[in-house]
């Protein structure tokens, strides 16, 4: 098998483990909202996103309007456009249009995080390996949660929810040690995000994340512009 595909798979293992636990929770919720385990698994396989799926579940359970579903998904998931744009700057020449059409399915927070931490250009095989492992974890977790949600002790399932955030911390801290500008960016984004949570709680999580990230990055781009050789990819 292609070594890039295998490396993508191995880099995807932490994502897979995190997804198993988080999607387990989604499976439980889906069944509580009246969906079958099969429907829950189809949602996970076709959407591959956490917050958007949870919000979609609420619309389905409430029998909401289709336009509500569209606007909700746009709001919560528009951050993926920013991530896709960022990744588009570091794609290998092998990334032809069909590959772009397929790999864009797998741009999640976590896959984006690991891909943007790569030093070299991204190849389709690398992304497919990672997406495959991550999607298997996401769908398997959903199916297990939907089928057997009550069996796992809550002390275990609750502790598992922190796994993906632990991975985010592992991605941002090392560069923040080396570049003061990155440290300032993560501090500013966190501060703005906290502000929204406690002072303006009516703003949805999706919008709060976008505003916090864009504001912090604009400030850093103004005050700490990168040198030419650093390029667009971190």
């Amino acid at each position: 098998m292609n070594h890039r595909f295998l490396r993508g798979m191995s880099d995807g293992i932490p994502i897979c483990l995190g997804y198993l636990s988080v999607s387990f929770g989604f499976g439980i919720l889906a069944v509580k909202s009246g969906l079958s385990p099969l429907q829950a698994s189809v949602i996970s396989a076709s959407n591959l996103t956490s917050a958007g799926q949870k919000a979609g579940l609420d619309v389905i359970a409430a029998g909401g309007a289709i336009i509500e579903m569209i606007l909700l998904q746009l709001t919560i998931n528009i951050r993926y456009s920013l991530m896709a744009l960022s990744l588009s700057q570091k794609l290998d020449r092998r990334f032809t249009t069909p590959h772009r059409l397929m790999a864009s399915y797998g741009i999640t927070d976590e896959i984006f995080a690991v891909c943007s931490a790569q030093k070299e250009l991204l190849t389709p095989a690398y992304m497919y390996g990672m997406i495959l492992v991550a999607a298997v974890g996401w769908v398997t977790g959903t199916a297990l949660g939907a089928a057997a949600g009550e069996l796992l002790p809550s002390s275990v399932s609750s502790a598992m929810e922190i796994v993906l955030f632990g991975m985010f911390i592992a991605i941002v801290i090392p560069p923040a040690k080396k570049q003061r500008s990155v440290l300032i960016v993560i501090a500013a984004a966190a501060a703005i995000s906290v502000f929204f949570r406690y002072v303006l709680p009516m703003v949805s999580d999706g919008f709060a994340i976008i505003i916090a990230a864009v504001a912090a990055s604009v400030l850093a781009a103004v005050f700490f512009p990168v040198r030419d050789e650093e390029g667009a990819s971190p």
Binding site: I66, S158, F165, V194, G231
Partner: protein, 99 residues
């Protein structure tokens, strides 16, 4: 409304959001400002998603704080992603046993 319609709409919108910029944006960005912006955006997104949400992951804010602290320390010493992620979860679980 059939559940299948909801699922198709949900998946379609989510896919288009990802696909359009990824597929149709081909130029290398020359603006220094915009390149700097894209350099910082991944860190900013991850940070804004993590704080303060990480403190509400486990049922108890103290176990979540313990997991966060362990993750920050291990990340500072540049441990592999999977080690940091699982240690954070392990710390939250262990402290949870005593609370």
């Amino acid at each position: 409304m059939s559940i299948a319609v909801y699922i198709i709409v949900m998946a379609g919108v989510t896919y288009l959001i990802r696909m359009i910029p990824f597929t149709f944006f081909r130029r290398k960005i020359n603006s220094r400002f915009f390149r700097s912006f894209l350099h910082y955006i991944p860190y900013a997104v991850l940070s804004a998603m993590t704080v303060p949400a990480i403190f509400y992951t486990t049922d108890n804010i103290w176990t979540a704080a313990a997991g966060t602290a362990v993750a920050v320390v291990l990340a500072f010493f540049e441990m592999p992603l999977i080690v940091v992620a699982l240690a954070a979860s392990g710390a939250a679980f262990l402290l949870g046993l005593f609370m």
